[in-house]
């Protein structure tokens, strides 16, 4: 009797638990999906592109007339803030904050793809990009009440020395001086026509000399942007309050709080619950939930983040160009996009940012197993080709598994080496790897390619060392003739396409989950969006 009781009870409980799992994981009109793989995915055909264009339904540029707006906004962050110093870090979550709190000399308009005045109203160079004169905007106030002067700009650039994320800019400087109170002269060591574009990056934000001198830690949070830092606790939240005296005009809300919610499901639920108004980078598996929720919008945009395959060209067997070509033609990128990115990506045809100056369509590598086998036969006449592929993260592991399966068909054995982000970063920088699957974003200026192709650069995961490429880049950055400049960049891309140190795979689409009717987000393909003018309709 007792034994029967136990058996029946155990069976009933197991059934209950299984049923609860299914209920907890399924979608409903008001519920969210739990973090279980294999549940419903969104229909790629539903995605719409949100731009900072008032004519679009999603992410309107300005608030609709007569609609009351929320005063207190919140955003769920996937990664945490660790500093308020613009010169110590440059990544997505920090640049959200920096773009709201600070201004740079120059602004890049993502709609027109043109440079616009920001703290500098005009800039010029008379010697092919070696010397720049920036004229500053009058009457710009810092959060501490100080007025922007040329000395603040000089101080900012001199401070870059030795900092984590700005030092590489400082190393390009020959001198920075204040010509007068509102004019700055910057002289570079080498001519660089991309310099004004580089002045749009948040890590070049202009700081208040007085604020930083008085308080080297908190002073770095004093900017000229429409938002100022109110309080923060790293790993928990950062709260901004409106700066009414901003030269850009007051923002559309009173407070904006970044909340660190690393767990994807919890961040989505916070959005559905109304605890946050914006959800940074929702998980791919949850995009359908956002689309189906009548209270939410899913803003999608053409992301500039490129997933790629890199060969360590300085190490066997990846130093064999025929093997690299065999891999390039043996990979079916369309299948990889369909599975690893769940269809939310665009095939890359050149190892260059699609939004980067000088992009040239090299056509990519067609999926051609026969051609791949021909190259493999040249590389390994007796067979036995093996290659280690180092990866980190779930999506890239999926890519690696697909590559492993595809290349097995043509006779290459792939060994997947999985590391965490710190491990892969160090391993690939040191050159311990044979190949890896990695990702990166591209800036808008053509010379951005230098960091991924320059020998000794930590980002040059292929350890590619071709003097011809560096020569082309050096010529391009100082070339004032547009056509010639673009030709140099075209040759760089053709070189990379020919010698295959990298195989570009796809640019992942970007997504932001927001409360319905949210707008005013200035979308950057790099995903470092500007939320300065964001607005959210009140309930």
């Amino acid at each position: 009797m007792k034994k029967s009781f136990y058996r029946i009870t155990a069976a009933a409980l197991m059934t209950t638990m299984l049923a609860a799992s299914v209920v907890g994981c399924s979608k409903s009109s008001s519920g969210g999906s739990a973090a279980t793989a294999g549940t419903e995915t969104a229909d790629p055909g539903k995605q719409t592109t949100g731009t900072a264009d008032a004519s679009g339904d999603l992410n309107p540029l300005t608030p609709p007339e007569g609609v009351q707006l929320k005063e207190d906004l919140a955003m769920g962050l996937k990664s945490k803030h660790t500093t308020i110093d613009t010169m110590e870090v440059s990544n997505t979550q920090h640049n959200y904050m920096f773009r709201m709190v600070h201004d740079t000399l120059v602004h890049f308009n993502n709609t027109t793809n043109e440079l616009e005045p920001q703290l500098a109203t005009e800039w010029s160079t008379d010697d092919g990009g070696k010397t720049y004169i920036f004229k500053l905007r009058d009457g710009v106030k810092f959060h501490n009440g100080e007025t922007l002067k040329a000395s603040d700009v000089v101080f900012t650039f001199n401070r870059m020395q030795g900092t984590t994320s700005s030092n590489n800019l400082y190393t390009k400087l020959e001198s920075v001086e204040a010509v007068d109170d509102m004019t700055v002269k910057i002289v570079l060591i080498n001519p660089n026509l991309d310099w004004p574009y580089m002045m749009t990056i948040p890590t070049t934000s202009i700081l208040s000399e007085k604020a930083v001198t008085d308080d080297p830690t908190e002073g770095t949070g004093i900017g000229t942007g429409p938002w100022q830092i109110d309080s923060y606790e790293f790993g928990n939240y950062t709260k901004l309050v409106a700066f009414e005296d901003s030269w850009r005009g007051a923002p559309n809300a009173k407070t904006f709080t970044f909340r660190y919610i690393p767990e994807d499901s919890a961040r989505l639920i916070a959005l559905q619950n109304g605890e946050v108004d914006i959800c940074m980078e929702p998980a791919t598996i949850e995009l359908g939930t956002i689309e189906d929720d009548p209270n939410l919008d899913l803003i999608s945009y053409d992301g500039g983040s490129l997933s790629y395959f890199a060969f360590n060209t300085q190490k066997s067997p990846a130093d064999n160009e025929d093997l690299r070509k065999a891999v390039a033609y043996g990979i079916d990128v369309d299948s990889i996009i369909a599975v690893a990115a769940e269809g939310r990506g665009k095939k890359a045809t050149s190892f260059w940012g699609w939004n980067e100056y000088g992009f040239y369509d090299c056509g990519g590598y067609e999926y051609n197993p026969d051609k791949a086998k021909e190259y493999l036969a040249k590389a390994y006449p007796n067979g036995g080709a093996t290659l280690d592929v180092t990866v980190s993260g779930a999506e890239r592991k999926t890519i690696a598994e697909m590559v492993q399966s595809q290349l097995k068909e043509i006779g290459i054995t792939i060994n997947i080496v999985e590391l965490d982000s710190a491990g892969i970063s160090t391993s690939t920088t040191k050159g311990d790897h044979q190949s890896c699957i990695y990702g990166m974003g591209f800036n808008i200026f053509g010379d951005d390619a230098r960091r991924i192709l320059q020998p000794g650069s930590a980002v040059n995961k292929a350890h590619y060392d071709d003097p011809e490429v560096m020569e082309l880049l050096d010529k391009a950055v100082a070339e004032t003739d547009e056509a010639k400049r673009k030709e140099y960049y075209k040759e760089v891309q053709e070189n990379v396409h020919e010698h295959v140190p990298y195989i570009p795979l796809y640019y992942a689409d970007g997504f932001i989950g927001v409360k319905k009717g949210t707008g005013g987000i200035d979308i950057y393909p790099t995903s470092h969006h500007d939320y300065s003018k964001v607005f959210v309709p009140a309930d």
Partner: protein, 317 residues
């Protein structure tokens, strides 16, 4: 008693040395360091080498450990590689959230487990006893992560009774505390039941009943007090475990505690912050276990007598 306390405090020193040694060297074995994650994209290998040199990461691990321990002797736990903030103050900033959550979780566990354990013991062998034990085991069987998400979906998203995460409001603590407390329930319930069963068999309780004392008083005043030692032991070790940081729960609920701090620091290879946080946690856990031991003396006079000094024992013959 004082000698016992001092002895226990002194015993922490070799524990701290051992823990710091292990953490330091294990972190060094893991591939990668903080520099590649911190450095800007496009940094050259020379620039990385310079950052490594500034942080002292180019020194042999033995020298780095020696530097770290010398700093510890001066009360300096170092500075985070990533945020450049003082390790001690960073840890202390997160500690109140973890302490709050730990105590709340233990309270939930006690509120659920002790009554269930007592009830189960008084109904030994009955269907109520079996159901109680199954309920207790359910709490242990459900993965923390999964339960937390289910509670969020049910009580936050659907019912809007509690926030889904963070620690902005007083009610924020309820769901994470229930998540952790439910997981602790099984052991505490079974221990309470087992301990009560031992005590309920004692002759003196028969005497108490014969004297006309109500059953409720017999159970709660006489039996429970004598059953408390094992219960306190389990509670103490559970509290120590939760104080170490419930990483999964803190992540699901975006609770800004020590557990998440340690995991984030591990992912960033922020060695000073990891080492300092683990040392601080070790000290905290040791103090909690000491308090648990001292509580025994408060509950059981026989144990208090054992803490008496040799001199007093000799004096008492």
């Amino acid at each position: 008693m004082h000698r016992y306390i001092i002895k226990r405090l002194l015993m922490m020193i070799p524990v701290i040395i051992g823990v710091s040694f292990l953490v330091f060297f294990i972190m060094d074995l893991a591939p990668g360091d903080a520099v590649d994650l911190m450095a800007p994209e496009g940094a050259t290998t020379e620039e990385l080498a310079e950052i490594r040199h500034d942080l002292g990461l180019d020194k042999p691990v033995v020298l780095r450990y020696a530097d770290y321990m010398i700093g510890m002797l001066h009360g300096d736990m170092g500075v985070s590689y990533v945020s450049k903030t003082d390790v001690f103050s960073t840890y202390v900033e997160k500690l109140p959230a973890t302490i709050k959550l730990s105590f709340a979780s233990i309270l939930v566990s006690i509120l659920l487990s002790v009554p269930l354990g007592i009830y189960s013991a008084t109904k030994q062998g009955s269907i109520q006893d079996n159901i109680s034990m199954i309920l207790a085991m359910l709490g242990l069987s459900m993965p923390n992560f999964w339960l937390g998400l289910l509670l969020i979906i049910a009580f936050s998203l659907n019912l809007h009774w509690f926030p889904s995460g963070g620690d902005q409001t007083l009610s924020s603590i309820v769901l994470p505390a229930v998540t952790i407390g439910t997981g602790l329930m099984a052991t505490l319930t079974r221990t309470t039941r087992s301990s009560m069963l031992d005590v309920l068999k004692q002759e003196y309780l028969r005497t108490a009943r014969a004297k006309g004392i109500s059953e409720k008083t017999v159970i709660m005043s006489h039996a429970l007090r004598n059953a408390l030692i094992p219960i306190i032991t389990i509670m103490g070790t559970q509290l120590a475990g939760v104080l170490g940081g419930s990483v999964l729960t803190e992540t699901v609920f975006a609770w800004p505690g020590v557990g998440r701090l340690i995991v984030d620091s591990l992912n960033m290879r922020d060695t000073p912050l990891v080492t300092g946080s683990i040392i601080m946690t070790t000290i905290l856990v040791s103090i909690v276990l000491l308090i648990v031991d001292l509580l025994y003396a408060a509950v059981d006079p026989r144990i208090k007598a054992q803490y008496a000094t040799v001199k007093r024992r000799k004096k008492n013959g």
